[in-house]
């Protein structure tokens, strides 16, 4: 009997070992699949474009150069669009998160008599979308086309963000608010002095969501402001480079060196492929540097919001 048990135990651990090994191998493959495209892009961005055209760049640059980045950072249109990108991200996130937090606070108050009405009014819009054309006409009537504010106002508040923040505030001990009320604090004081400071983890999460959304947006630039270079953004510029090199789709090399440098030389030439690689790295690095630090928070926020939403 003992022997049988021992044998069973052993067989199970062998099964377990096989399972674990396959699982770990699978995870390593997954990591490679996730990382390779980006690492390859980094390598291409650091390789001389005339050499990249020959192909074969994988993870390590063959002819190392900073020139692609120099080109990206000295191009006036790119620098100007970087400013717009930063502005829309900072302003959009600041205003958007503040607005969402305020609405979330009001509907987290059990005694607020419009609690249900406000909640339903917001949640309904998650599934009710007027569509591209009516929205476009509205923005035209509001004189938002050709303006910076078309990036900020229409997407000011995200319903999902409200739900995430509300759930968090509802989880704060009500006694805190009660004692503040005893001391004569109004709703604004309670919001700014209690709810907001105590909700910092969720505010950080929502800020990340909003900031990423703003930073990565290109469609509103394309629809509303494509003819105004001052209001272009990095993602839109990258999108233009992408569709240019896609003109010869499939052939990523797109040998035509559109941006041949005046100095000539072998290295001082950039191809759309190299510009695209450098720009991809430039637009992606800020987010990639930030999100791991907020991981703990956004996993929590997403769980609350996703399940309740």
């Amino acid at each position: 009997m003992q022997l049988i048990n021992r044998l069973k135990g052993k067989r199970r651990s062998v099964d377990d070992l096989i399972f674990d090994t396959i699982n770990v191998i699978f995870m390593i493959l997954l990591v490679i699949v996730m990382l390779y495209p980006l690492l390859n892009t980094v390598a291409i961005s650091l390789n001389a474009s005339t050499d990249t055209v020959k192909g074969g760049i994988r993870l390590i640059p063959r002819v190392f150069t900073w020139y692609n980045y120099e080109h990206v950072f000295t191009e006036a249109t790119i620098m100007r669009s970087a400013v717009t990108s930063v502005l829309r991200t900072v302003i959009g996130t600041g205003l958007g998160v503040m607005a969402s937090a305020m609405v979330a606070y009001t509907i987290s108050r059990p005694h607020f008599f419009l609690k249900k009405f406000v909640t339903i009014a917001f949640v309904l819009t998650m599934y009710m979308n007027a569509g591209l054309i009516p929205t476009y006409l509205l923005h035209r009537d509001l004189n938002l086309i050709g303006s910076f504010w078309v990036y900020i106002l229409p997407t000011l508040i995200g319903v999902f963000n409200i739900i995430v923040i509300r759930s968090f505030i509802e989880g704060l001990p009500e006694t805190l608010f009660e004692s503040a009320r005893m001391d004569g604090a109004g709703e604004f004081t309670q919001f700014f002095k209690i709810a907001l400071p105590l909700s910092l983890p969720v505010i950080a999460t929502v800020s990340l969501f909003v900031a990423v959304g703003q930073w990565n947006q290109w469609f509103d630039v394309f629809i509303y402001n494509s003819s105004i270079p001052e209001l272009s953004t990095l993602q839109y510029e990258l999108m233009k480079v992408l569709s240019n090199s896609n003109a010869a789709f499939g052939s990523g090399a797109g040998a035509a060196s559109q941006f041949a440098n005046a100095q000539g030389g072998v290295v001082d030439v950039v191809t759309p492929q190299s510009v695209r690689a450098a720009m991809t790295v430039v637009v992606s690095v800020p987010i990639i540097m930030v999100y791991p630090f907020l991981q703990k928070y956004f996993v929590k926020g997403l769980t609350i919001g996703g399940v309740k939403g």
């Binding site: 591209l132 106002l153 508040i157 996703g306």
Partner: protein, 326 residues
């Protein structure tokens, strides 16, 4: 949060109930009493009305032959003509086929891969390794579609694209394939790109649901001699079922939302017959050809279908005794 089933319970509990009217006096009294809360929410209610509800009035255009120069009032009403035109238009039917195919593929692939990844992550024994894999798997979610489309088209490129090189080295193909130039491949490529971008992110919620499953069940199963796979199939999967059902309902509401950015950015004249979906159709007719009425009709059709699907899925889930959204 207790367990996955409870979580599902809260959603049903939160079911919106519109209270009986309480009269104007009550409203005025409360408004004065809670003027600060009112002051805090009012600007954003106005915002909501202007930006989310007001544009719905634009649906009027779908029943008109809208001429921008004339405006709503002067434009001629044509009833359901725009819709009739749409359903007789071969291009629209093709676009509908693409939209449905792509969102079905994305829906199924998305669910299966995210649930699988969550379960496999949960089975990893080394916490440090698990965390590293998780962090890396979230990364593509934070990249823009512009970036991802660039990465996809270079990976699939005919000269020096990694996919072609791998397939050739493995001896599966003899010549590089121009993946993005063949329409029939588009749906699969799009599905794969979506999975690459969001599988890690989508697994978060399932992983959270798994950690809420009662650990004693696993211990009991282990004593009874259940294998790892048995534990996965008989404990983990049933344990996360409520969350899966709810997310399924929510996603079925988006059945005609097959996405826009990915298709638009990966589309080219060669794969267009398979890549063009409703959103691109609306964009093409609406803004490029300024046929506002037709584009609005197509967009309105999308929202109405979404609502029908959402309610139907909710009903079916209710009938089957599953958790439901409302």
């Amino acid at each position: 949060m207790a367990d996955a089933a409870n979580v599902a319970g809260t959603i049903v509990k939160n079911k919106p109930k519109i209270k009986a009217q309480k009269g104007l006096r009550y409203f005025v009294r409360k408004s004065i009493e809670q003027k600060e809360l009112l002051l805090m929410s009012m600007p954003f209610l106005i915002w909501l009305f202007i930006f989310k509800y007001l544009p719905l009035s634009g649906w009027l255009m779908a029943f008109q032959d809208y001429k921008p120069a004339r405006g709503f009032q002067e434009s001629e009403f044509v009833g359901f003509d725009q819709f009739k035109f749409l359903f007789q238009d071969d291009r629209f039917l093709q676009v509908m086929r693409n939209t449905l195919a792509m969102s079905m593929i994305n829906l199924v692939l998305g669910f299966v891969t995210a649930i699988t990844l969550a379960i496999l992550l949960n089975e990893l024994r080394n916490v440090g390794f698990k965390r590293i894999v998780q962090t890396i798997s979230y990364m593509p979610h934070f990249l823009s579609w512009v970036v991802v489309a660039g990465l996809v088209s270079s990976a699939l490129s005919v000269d020096d694209g990694i996919i072609n090189i791998l397939l050739m080295n493995l001896g599966i193909i003899d010549e590089p394939i121009m993946f993005l130039g063949v329409g029939q491949y588009f749906w699969g490529l799009l599905g794969a790109s979506e999975v690459w971008k969001s599988v890690g992110w989508n697994s978060i919620i399932y992983l959270a649901a798994i950690t809420m499953i009662d650990q004693e069940q696993y211990e009991a199963a282990e004593i009874d001699g259940a294998t790892r796979l048995q534990r996965i199939f008989y404990i983990t999967l049933p344990g996360i079922k409520p969350v899966v059902v709810i997310l399924m309902i929510m996603n079925i509401g988006y059945i005609l939302e097959s996405g826009f950015e990915a298709q638009y950015l990966l589309m080219n004249p060669m794969n267009m017959d398979y890549a063009e979906n409703l959103d691109i159709f609306v964009l093409r007719y609406g803004l490029r050809q300024a046929n506002f009425s037709l584009a609005t009709a197509a967009g309105m059709f999308k929202t109405v279908i979404s609502f029908i699907f959402l309610f139907a899925a909710n009903k079916v889930a209710h009938k089957l005794g599953e958790a439901r959204l409302f």
